[in-house]
Amino acid sequence: MPKHDLGLAIIVLTVLIRLLFLPLSIKAQRSQRALNIINPHIQAIKEKHKHDKTAQGVAMMALYKEHNINPIAGCIPLLIQLPILIALYQVFISGLNPQTLSILYPFIHNPGTINPLFLGFISIGIKNHFLAIVAGVLQFLQARQSMNYMKASSGAANPQMAVLNKQMLYFFPVMIIVIGWNIQAGLILYWITTTVFSIGEQLYLRRTQ
């Protein structure tokens, strides 16, 4: 990294990991959206064949076939992602200094100096309330964008679901700010990067749908 900039290193690593999962992520979101769109039909079938599980199954099968729904992969991707995520958080939480890093990667030559100043003025190792708020706002924008994409043309959603949607739209951004308030700026920088990446991914999904 230029000038051993730790902040840039975090951004580059985050983008690399997201790029790795990009094909899966795109596929998963398209597939989820397709499922959401036929959800009213699923509810109708459930209601219609309330007491006849066999008939319900047959109708569901026909619906899946008609709309060519073929969900991918299952839950295995989660098992691959979790270790990566946990490792990432561990590194951030245990603190980034030359000592811990040489334990982490004994095979990599110690870079010697790590510059904890991102772009020369944001210190990665301490709390940064401004970044926490930026992360929260970005999280809100990303959530709203994603929700619009996911529920697109689902027709008449029931009012209970609408209330739930409003709640969850604000829940995670507030949570991000509350958590972000008390952690190192490095972790927030990771979160901002991954959120911006998500927003870009969504823009791509919309364009190519």
Binding site: S25, G74, P77
Partner: protein, 75 residues
């Protein structure tokens, strides 16, 4: 029994929120089975009790892998 059922409910609410807003960090792959594993688990626990029901739910989750076809699968 009620404890297990409410834990499943809590899981489902969080899951719905995460999926709808696509909180970054994970890729949310959609269910390949119908009903979903959480619905399946509810039905299984109600029908077979905590021990056998939970076991059936666990095997259902294990069946959610790239080597199965997925699709409609009631308890």
């Amino acid at each position: 029994m009620n404890l297990i059922l409410s834990l499943i409910k809590i899981y489902r609410t969080i899951n719905t929120w995460l999926r709808a807003t696509q909180v970054p960090g994970l890729v949310y792959t959609p269910c390949k089975f119908h009903p979903t594993c959480s619905e399946y688990a509810e039905l299984a626990v109600q029908k077979y009790g905590i021990l056998r029901g939970s076991w059936k739910a666990i095997t259902r989750i294990l069946r959610c892998n790239p080597f199965t076809a997925g699709g409609v699968d009631y308890i």
